[in-house]
């Protein structure tokens, strides 16, 4: 009897030990989950931080400078008190459009080649080779633009300045090329085979299949890749700062030196900027414009990709 009671007691003890261990595990579980949640929340905090800081500093800027002057002024000389944003818009536009002229057609063609023409071994070599272009740091592209592209441009068009929008645009086009080609390839490869076979069955040539069936079917994916490449070009900093100079010219002439939004931020923050000064606030006003522009483009691209993804899956 006593023995039985003892074993019963130890049974209860064991159970309570097990239960407390389980409780400890569950508590630990909650702690780990909480920590992981904080990590995930940090990404939200980062976004909030970016928005709050850009907006609050830019607000200080717009208390001194009217929005009208900012958006329509043609002279950008913050030191002299001229805050016309248009020269920076021109510079950024020249780089973005020029880069797009290089990367969009070439990237789409390479995407078509990879998805429709290349045999698997060729694709296997070509893809990583192109990825290399995207992996080279942008400051290296700046060097390449300054000391390779610009001399060539100067030989072709002698009036080209030492710093010019064209060379910056060309190298930004080269560095965004893999982005366009690989996203285009993904989009084209996702088009169902049956569509191609239907067209071939009607006697279409390969070019006709590609241009009238495959590319139109993958259009939203292709457009998304274009928008992402342009958005990347707008935010590109080092290559452009090195190659295209830091002269805020109000011009659309690609042989002249220009200043992009990013180049302005780099140049101004390189010198010691005093916190709270107008120069300090100016870079945030420019940064806010940059952030909003690229954000809208990225959201549009994501929407297109989602739309495309739901179509064929």
């Amino acid at each position: 009897m006593a023995q039985r009671a003892g074993s019963l007691g130890s049974e209860t003890a064991r159970r309570s030990i097990l239960r407390s261990r389980l409780n400890a595990h569950q508590a630990w579980e909650r702690i780990v989950k909480g920590i992981c949640f904080l990590c995930a929340f940090l990404s939200i905090a980062t976004t909030i931080g970016i928005v709050v800081i850009l907006v609050s500093q830019a607000q200080g800027f717009f208390q001194n400078v009217s929005v009208w002057e900012f958006l329509t002024g043609r002279v950008w000389e913050p030191i002299a008190g001229h805050f016309g944003f248009l020269p920076l818009v021109c510079g950024t536009l020249l780089i973005t459009v020029g880069a797009g002229l290089v990367s969009l057609p070439l990237g789409l063609l390479i995407g078509i080649f990879l998805a429709e023409y290349a045999r698997p071994p060729v694709r296997k070599i070509l893809k990583p080779a192109l990825e290399l272009l995207a992996g080279i740091p942008t400051v290296v592209y700046g060097y390449f633009a300054l000391f390779f592209v610009t001399p060539i441009l100067q030989r072709v068009i002698p009036s080209t300045e030492a710093f010019n929008a064209a060379s910056g645009a060309i190298v930004v086009g080269i560095m965004t090329l893999p982005l366009v080609s690989s996203l285009c390839e993904d989009a084209l490869a996702a088009v169902p085979k049956a569509l191609r076979e239907g067209a071939y069955g009607l006697g279409a040539t390969k070019f006709e299949v590609v241009s009238k069936v495959v590319v139109p079917s993958a259009m939203s994916g292709v457009m998304a890749s274009f928008i992402l490449a342009l958005s990347r070009a707008i935010g590109e900093t080092m290559a452009v700062t090195l190659a295209s100079g830091s002269t805020p010219n109000f011009t659309l002439n690609p042989t002249q030196a220009v200043m992009t939004m990013t180049a302005y931020i780099v140049n101004t923050s390189r010198g010691d900027v005093e916190r709270g000064s107008t120069a300090y606030q100016t870079i945030f006003a420019v940064g806010l414009t940059l952030f909003i522009t690229t954000l809208l483009m990225n959201l549009l691209a994501q929407r297109l990709i989602r739309k495309f993804g739901s179509r064929y899956s």
Binding site: L42, I50, V140, F148, I174, T237, L290, L295
Partner: protein, 297 residues
Amino acid sequence: MIAAPSPNLRRRKLVDRLFTILAYSAAVIGVALLLILLSKLFADGLPRLSGRFLTSMPKQTNFAKAGILSAIIGSVWVMVLTFLFAVPIGVGAAVYLQEFQTKKSRFTGLIQVNINNLSGVPSIVYGMLGLAIFVPLFTALTRDPLQGRGIITGALTMSLLILPMIILVTQESLKSVPKSFREGSLSMGATNWQTIRKVVLPAASPGILTGIILAMGRAVGETAPLIVVGAASLVTFLPRGLTDGYMVLPLQIYDWSSRPQAGFHQLAASAIVVLIVALVAINSIAITIRARSRHQV
């Protein structure tokens, strides 16, 4: 008897052939651009590259004796710290989104969209975030504006920049772990966290590691945010503490390229060769890991 092809068909076939040539030549141009770029960089940079270049400090004017020692050491400092900050947080965030929150709630959806957007924010904007938060923070802590712009400020800024990248690749790797792995572990009585730690993370680790290495590779070449948070332009000493001034390799390249003297341009080219060799080394580690893990499965 077969009828002769109509002129229309002949034209269509001609267009088709021309387009084929166009597609092939686009691919050739892509590869040619890469080869031209690399050969220009190596042709400029290799001749001056020497052991002394790697072990000397940069100089204000004397480019014959200048080197990249402080830039190499600075880059290593920033990378190690960035790794320490970004990897645990990034993996933790991915585990939360992928493993703890398996039900799709509106909040996790928001985080997901947010991470996708963050990965598209221009790098210089992160620099501005660092300028507005970390610089004043460390200035206040050290009571020295110079130390406010030290290594740790740069590394924290860089961590925020590569965090979205690390979260996204970790999520992808976690997704690729078969559901049966988790179910097997859970049915043996393991808790969710035990399953994650002992089953899911080890199975996903080659993919996670590859992604982390690629993200670090991108951070090594990143310049713009570090300029904004105030990396110095001439550093002739080696940093000894977390708040010391520093130089990184891409910034040294930028500085030398933007000087007027041709002698500095050659130094920039040599530094580029070092940077590219380092990047190739980093990426080949990633490729090796990926290849080996595929072999195992």
